[in-house]
């Protein structure tokens, strides 16, 4: 059974400019022990997706659909029960460690509070456990440093503390939302590595939400690529990097500056601007920026699902790039509330 199975997830926000759909009828699933990367840029909806599942949406947001985690639907759970799941079974790490930590409490206080709340340990035991976790994330002198305040730690170390706090209750699933974006390049690499190792060692399942393709390359086993609230491609990490099928994925990979590229290589930028969720084009949401768009793209492209787990939402074949021969291409774009999307193609 899949560890997490998400079906038909839709997240909308009520803004002064009207209703905004951040995530549109999303489906995905992940197995135990996997490290799944959700890749996308601004407006992709990747963070909102996880916030919705975890019940952490902003006040003006609402979500529908189901998210079955270990047999229970997180989205149908009463808040109190969801609270218990959060922290104990699913841990989340956010982007900016400075704002996630209370500057007025010592690290010890903040960590032991979590453990005592969820596992009912006594203070001494909680402290020992916390120190162990700090050691696991490679904080030097954890016995001493646990008594310090967040501002006495560097950015990279604060993020390690956040990871340690996430691990305190030995969660089944760790969700890291852009964990290294706010940090320096070399520290980013250390944090990414750390997360990767922790995943390997403990067989903990992880979801890494990021726009950093290098981090994905380093630790992910499977990848979901999102654009404008939809999944545009999925596959194993090798598939995505070496055989990307969707033009957006291809464009993304071509535009990332790489250390190993030759000095004379140019950067190939994806033209256009990030999607404006209130003014999305009909049909394929990427078509305004796609160098290989055709007329057929004015209709919502079908999802090709291959047996090896890869999928791509495009009118072009995932392997050859040739236009698919589909009878359904003539149909108009289905209403958001109505029937399921056009049939999958083998």
């Amino acid at each position: 059974m899949a560890l997490l199975d998400v079906r038909g997830l839709t997240v909308t926000f009520d803004t002064p400019e009207g209703e905004l759909c951040a995530v549109d009828r999303l489906d995905f699933s992940m197995e135990t022990g996997e490290t799944l990367a959700i890749v996308g840029e601004s407006g992709a909806g990747k963070s909102q997706l996880m916030m919705a599942i975890m019940g952490l949406l902003a006040e003006n947001g609402s979500a529908s659909g189901s998210a079955i985690f270990k047999g229970r639907d997180l989205m149908a759970m009463p808040p109190r029960e969801l609270n218990r799941v959060r922290g104990a079974e699913i841990a989340m790490i956010f982007q900016d460690p400075m704002t996630s930590l209370n500057p007025y409490l010592t690290i010890e206080k903040q960590m032991t509070e979590v453990v005592q709340h969820h596992q009912g340990l006594r203070r001494e035991q909680a402290r020992a456990h916390a120190v162990e976790m700090l050691r696991a994330v490679r904080i030097p002198d954890p016995e001493e440093r646990i008594r310090q305040y967040p501002h006495e730690y560097s950015g990279g170390m604060r993020q390690r503390v956040m990871i340690a706090m996430g691990l305190l209750c030995a969660p089944d699933l760790l969700i890291a939302d852009e964990p290294s974006t706010a940090l320096d390049v070399t520290v980013q690499a250390q944090i990414t590595q750390l997360i990767g190792e922790l995943g390997e060692k403990s067989n903990m399942s992880m979801i890494l939400i990021t726009h950093d393709l290098a981090a994905v390359a380093e630790i992910a086993s499977r990848v979901i690529v999102m654009y404008a609230g939809e999944v545009v491609e999925t596959g194993s990490v090798d598939d995505i990097f070496y055989r990307p099928g969707h033009p957006y994925t291809q464009g993304l990979l071509a535009s990332v500056p790489r250390m190993d590229s030759s000095v004379d290589d140019a950067l190939h930028a994806i033209p256009g601007n990030p999607p404006n969720l209130q003014e999305l084009p009909d049909g394929c949401r990427f078509r305004d920026r796609c160098t290989r768009a055709v007329d057929a793209c004015r209709n919502r492209p079908p999802v090709q699902r291959l047996e090896d787990g890869r999928s791509s939402r495009c009118v072009r074949d995932i392997d050859t790039g040739e236009l698919l021969d589909l009878p359904t291409l003539a149909e108009p774009e289905p209403e958001r509330t109505a029937s399921p999307e056009p049939e999958a193609v083998e």
Partner: protein
């Protein structure tokens, strides 16, 4: 021109180039729309607007003058027959007209004194905060010293020296209120001074006075406006207090404060002389407070999605 400079794939670009200018949506517009969604604030706004009209034009429509003494109807309760809808006071003056005329004075004091403190306070605070260093320290010490002076003492001094002229009320109140405004503006300026767009302006060679004018002040107006709507009721109350002590406006002019004072003395025998002015005063204070709260919520950037 190479592909990389186009932000938009060629086909729609050419068409878009020919389009008319798009209208921008400033942050003020956003805040205004948010404010309009706040029912309490909108209702308060409407009430205040009506109040203003009534206070300005009401006395002209009334058959009675503010200082006319109706000897036939002294201390008479409100009635439609006598024509005194709010009743009369001990010397037969129509309470309705007195209340409205008093409203003119109270509101004028509120608005003018606040305006004075606004102009002085914002300028003073922005200069102190922006230039910092010795200028700031000196200017703030001056504020501290004036702050320490007992307000009543200062007012009484002014009254004694210059007599009880209405302009003096403005001066006295304005002279004290600008201090708070200056402090708040200085605090905001200190923060704004370090923003990147101010740094960018310096890097573009913009001169100091233009930076204050274009970059600092517009970005503090939000806080200032909220503070202003909360200051107006404060000022009206201060004036009422002065009147209560007998230091406010002189007869035959009246203000709500003075009317409340008079009414309080006849409270048991002629409660209407107290109730009506007090009600107007209270409603006004409530309304300004609701508007101020509404503005603060509307301008709060945390609600931006």
């Amino acid at each position: 021109m190479s592909d990389s400079v186009n932000t938009i794939v060629d086909d729609p670009f050419a068409a878009a180039m020919a389009e008319d200018d798009v209208r921008g949506r400033s942050l003020w517009m956003d805040a205004w729309h948010r404010l309009l969604k706040n029912r309490a604030a909108v209702i308060s706004g409407i009430i205040m607007f009506v109040m203003l009209l009534v206070v300005l034009f009401g006395p002209m429509l009334s058959p009675w003058e503010g200082d006319f003494t109706d000897w036939d109807n002294t201390s008479s309760p409100p009635s439609l027959e006598t024509g005194h809808w709010f009743g009369t006071d001990a010397v037969g003056r129509d309470i309705l007209v007195r209340t409205l005329e008093g409203g003119r004075v109270s509101l004028m004091v509120g608005l003018v004194a606040t305006l004075v403190s606004l102009v002085i306070g914002v300028t003073y605070g922005a200069i102190a905060g922006y230039y910092g260093g010795f200028t700031d320290r000196f200017m703030m010490r001056v504020v501290d010293i004036i702050y320490a002076l007992p307000f009543m003492f200062f007012v009484i001094l002014l009254m004694v020296v210059f007599g009880r002229h209405i302009v003096l009320i403005f001066v006295a109140i304005g002279a004290v209120n600008w201090l708070d405004m200056a402090r708040i503006v200085r605090g905001q300026t200190l923060g704004l001074k370090n923003t990147e767009y101010v740094e960018a302006a310096r890097a573009c060679g913009v001169e100091h006075r233009d930076i204050i004018r274009r970059h600092i002040i517009p970005n503090l107006l939000g806080v200032v406006m909220v503070y202003v709507t909360l200051t107006i009721p404060q000022v009206i109350l201060v004036e009422s207090f002065l009147s209560f002590l007998g230091l406010g406006v002189q007869e035959p002019m009246s203000s709500w404060g003075a009317l409340v004072n008079d009414g309080a003395q006849d409270m048991e025998s002629a409660p209407w002389t107290l109730i009506f002015p007090a009600a107007f005063l209270t409603v006004t204070l409530y309304c300004f407070n609701y508007i101020g709260d509404g503005m603060r919520d509307a301008l709060d950037p945390k609600d931006h999605f």
